[in-house]
């Protein structure tokens, strides 16, 4: 690690042992919900500190309080030992706190320099700024071309813009919210080098993540939250991933019963030379995709976000139809030109990535959300064009009971459910039909560990009972947990599906980076690495 000190006042002010940031007894109430309940957090300069917890544990609330986006109901924040009130993010930035959000706020149609200039106060001289961007990004091993359009950049490169934007403000504390969720393993490695370099220079890093292996590797200290309370302050180097997970979720996660993964059943879902152009300038075209999913197996499509996953899902579900009928076959029947309704009638079921706005409608009660996908398939919910509300409510109640959808009204609007419960509903809605073919996209995205384990178990059970399950996911742990075979999508091209046992995360990382795309690129990649 480099120990060269770029900031002159570092070291003099932050005497060793003194905290750069301390938050004491932070309480934040949202109505009756105690999102943060008496939480303490302290960071020393030069430390990489992990903030761990499940969804809903209160991590985001705590971080927003530190970044000035929320005000605590009670409790006090200290900056370099002095009590401060951080009334807004601008005030936080003035103190020297930088934050990289999980969802980037970048303008696709502007260049890297223009985007950064928008975020910096009083930055008029774009040429000088471009120069600084180039220096800083090269310095920290985050190569960026200042003149590139954001629309042309990969997700990893977009994240670099956000990191470089923070670095230009010479932060004393850098907060990163799940930074590796969108990165390939190689890109993540590169980010870790940068963070270690920053810490070596005395900058404190608050690192929010679900990925325990990363935390063990990178972080010096960890604060673990559960249900809004502080449950442990541990040294991650001394813990195992399992013991960290136990702190986070309280109980041990149910081990998955996957049974024998021998898939020799009939092919139920076949894609052959599936190509589809995109009309969206920021979309990804599908290029000659081949895949077979057999009865009894779970096949996963891995890949970094934005490599054609949504387009692939839409092409299989029939929301976008292809020119050739033979490109998609369900149970042997060519249906590339059929609508989603016709494909559902061929015993296929689909669960898209977005819960609200795609799989379900926020303002409609659950029973009507059930009608969304059940109107087409032969049951009592819709007959002769008339909706049988009683039947819809009955099926909804059955789904809710069987899939443990927790709700406080008998038939609440979808928006009233928490993310995990709504996800259990939209998955359960399809599983209730016992479909022969199930295609799911990000089945446990943003869902807590308990619900995620339950959903994954349901998918495995579905396959073992003879269905073909295709899962598109960005979560490698999830993929290795339940997939029998794994294919990787990169820039609209899909690799061959390999048996899960034959693939290591490193090999998948290489596939994600596109080694399967065109033979010629292999050399190029090798040279880069």
């Amino acid at each position: 690690m480099s120990t060269s000190d770029m900031r002159p006042d570092d070291g003099s002010e932050a005497a060793s042992g003194a905290y750069i940031l301390e938050a004491r007894n932070i309480v934040k109430l949202f109505g009756d919900l105690r999102a943060n309940d008496d939480i303490d957090l302290s960071l020393k300069p030069g430390e990489i500190h992990a903030l761990l917890g499940e969804n809903g544990a209160g991590k985001s609330t705590l971080v927003k309080i530190i970044y000035g986006a929320l005000q605590p109901t009670s409790g006090q924040v200290f900056w370099q030992g002095a009590p401060v009130t951080i009334s807004n993010p601008a005030a936080a930035r003035d103190l020297g706190i930088g934050m990289v959000f999980q969802h980037f706020s970048l303008f696709d149609a502007l260049t890297v320099t223009q985007n950064i200039a928008l975020a910096l106060k009083g930055e008029r001289d774009l040429k000088a700024l471009a120069g600084r961007i180039e220096t800083v990004s090269a310095d920290y091993g985050l190569p960026l071309r200042p003149g590139a359009l954001v629309a042309d950049l990969s997700v990893g490169e977009r994240q670099r813009i956000e990191v470089v934007r923070c670095l230009l403000q010479e932060p004393r504390l850098l907060i990163l919210d799940e930074p590796t969720a969108v990165l390939t393993p190689q890109e993540a490695d590169q980010l870790f080098v940068t963070l270690e370099r920053l810490a070596g220079e005395g900058c404190a890093v608050l690192y929010i993540s679900h990925r325990l292996e990363e935390v063990k590797r990178l972080c010096h200290d960890a604060t673990i939250l559960r249900l809004g309370r502080l449950v442990a302050r541990v040294d991650p180097q001394q813990e195992s991933a399992a013991s960290l997970a136990k702190h986070m979720i309280g109980t041990d996660v149910a081990a998955l019963r996957s049974g024998s993964g021998a898939a020799t059943g009939a092919p139920l879902l076949e894609l052959a030379g599936l190509s589809m152009p995109t009309d969206d300038p920021f979309g990804v075209a599908l290029k000659s995709i081949d895949l077979v999913v057999r009865s009894g197996e779970v096949v996963a499509v891995a890949g970094v976000a934005g490599n054609g996953q949504s387009e692939l899902f839409d092409a299989i579900s029939g929301e976008r139809t292809s020119k050739s009928a033979d490109a998609v076959k369900l149970a042997g029947a060519p249906c590339g030109r059929e609508s989603i309704t016709q494909r559902r009638r061929r015993d296929a079921a689909f669960v898209p990535e977005e819960r609200l706005g795609h799989a379900a409608i926020a303002d409609l009660p659950l029973s009507e959300n059930l009608v969304l996908t059940h109107h087409a398939v032969g049951n009592d919910v819709v007959r002769n064009g008339l909706i049988n509300r009683g039947a819809a409510r009955d099926v909804m109640a059955r789904v809710a009971e069987h899939y443990d959808v927790r709700k406080n009204l008998t038939d609440p609007e979808a928006s009233a459910l928490s993310g995990g419960n709504l996800q259990k509903f939209v998955v359960g809605r399809e599983l209730d039909r016992k479909p022969g073919i199930l295609v799911v996209h990000q089945p446990t995205w943003g869902v807590d560990a308990g619900a995620a384990a339950f959903i994954r178990q349901s998918l495995v059970d579905m396959a073992r009972s003879g269905s073909a399950v295709l899962m598109i996911s960005q979560d490698l742990d999830e993929i290795f947990e339940i997939a029998d075979r794994i294919a990787v999508i990169s820039r609209g091209e899909l690799s061959e599906a390999y048996p899960a046992a034959e693939l290591s995360p490193e090999r998948i990382g290489l596939l994600m980076a596109g080694t399967h795309e065109k033979a010629g690129r292999d050399a190029e990649r090798g040279a880069e690495a």
Binding site: I340, L372, S415
Partner: protein, 354 residues
């Protein structure tokens, strides 16, 4: 202290019901201020405006005559707006329905048979529906904004009517007045009883019932609601947005066309340069005031019909311009849209700084 809007976790059913009443209350209060500013006793003016129309059999009948077209058009527009399809051109569809339906008595003045009336109604409906299909086609084919196209087509329809009525369709014995021959016998819609109320009022009630059933119970109604709230979820459900656009436009056009032919074959009894006093535009307010709900549209239609009567009454009795009708209608639409915010949000008083 500052006011802040806070999002509610669920739609407030109470506010969905109270919002139109609140808007009506605020409209009356602002109306009172307007009358004071004009130098009139606000109590008396509001009485003449809103209560007096309900005090005589004649004026109640007149309210029904005016409410019928407002409700007919209003339920159609309510379906459109539920689907997020912005048909602003009901006035033009009404004019086109009236014009096409009236062509029968104008070209065959001596034909007398029940078939004539039936044919006039069918042509009125077809005229409105096909005219409304134009903006639907332009939207589906070229992504043309339907608010602009449907509104501009209003003037096309009105100018076409004007041209015909001053030219080919002018009554040869009409002393050069721009109007058609008077319709008679089976060319006129039979009245209910001996007043001016005619069968059109029944059409309005039937339309309310059918549309209420369609929206609440059928898959078609569900499709319209889904496409209106979330086109992406609608496409996932297998519903086709373009089909919904065409259906909504043609349904509301058909109802507006029916209102149009009922107007010329009913109270007017002939084609004149102005078929309606702006029913097609006022029905936009009716649809929103009625919560885009057919039953609500029924009551809103009656209320707006009273406002037309009130405008005439204050003109006669107090000498105030009948433009007050439009002022009241405008305030009502503005306030109803503002009050609707409270269904999704609540108002909180917060002290600044914290």
């Amino acid at each position: 202290m500052i006011l802040r809007l806070e999002r509610r976790s669920q739609r407030s059913t109470l506010m969905a019901f109270l919002s139109p009443l609140l808007a009506i209350g605020l409209t009356l209060a602002l109306g009172a201020i307007m009358f004071v500013a004009l130098g009139f006793d606000p109590g008396k003016a509001l009485y003449i405006y809103f209560i007096e129309p309900l005090t005589s059999a004649w004026s109640i009948e007149e309210v029904v005559v005016k409410a019928a077209p407002l409700i007919l058009i209003g339920v159609g527009l309510a379906v459109c707006y539920t689907a997020n399809v912005w048909n602003i051109g009901a006035e033009g569809q009404l004019t086109m329905g009236a014009l096409v339906g009236a062509s029968i008595p104008i070209y065959f003045p001596d034909w007398q048979s029940p078939l004539v009336l039936l044919l006039m109604l069918v042509l009125g409906i077809a005229g409105g529906a096909l005219f409304a299909a134009i903006p639907a086609f332009l939207k589906n084919r070229f992504s043309a904004n339907e608010i602009l196209t449907s509104l501009m087509l209003v003037y096309v329809a009105q100018l076409l009517l004007d041209w015909l009525i001053r030219g080919a369709w002018r009554d040869p014995d009409g002393y050069n007045f721009p109007q058609s021959i008077l319709f008679e016998g089976w060319q006129v819609i039979p009245p209910l009883g001996d007043g001016r109320v005619h069968i059109g009022a029944i059409f309005a009630v039937v339309a309310v019932i059918i549309v209420a059933f369609m929206m609440g119970r059928t898959l078609r109604g569900f499709e319209i609601r889904v496409i209106g709230t979330s086109p992406r979820a609608g496409s996932f459900a297998g519903f086709k947005g373009k089909r919904v656009v065409l259906f909504c436009f043609m349904l509301s056009g058909a109802l507006a066309g029916l209102a149009g032919i009922c107007e010329v074959a009913g109270p007017s009894g002939q084609l004149q340069p102005h078929v309606s006093p702006g029913y097609g535009f006022t029905a936009i307010i009716v649809a929103f005031l009625g919560r885009l709900n057919p039953i609500g549209v029924f009551f809103a239609g009656v209320l707006l019909a009273i406002s037309y009567m009130g405008g005439e009454a204050v003109q006669v009795e107090l000498g105030i311009s009948d433009k007050t009708t439009q002022v009241f209608q405008g305030m009502l639409l503005f306030l109803i849209l503002a009050c609707d915010t409270l269904i999704r949000y609540r108002i909180r008083l917060v002290s600044p700084g914290r």
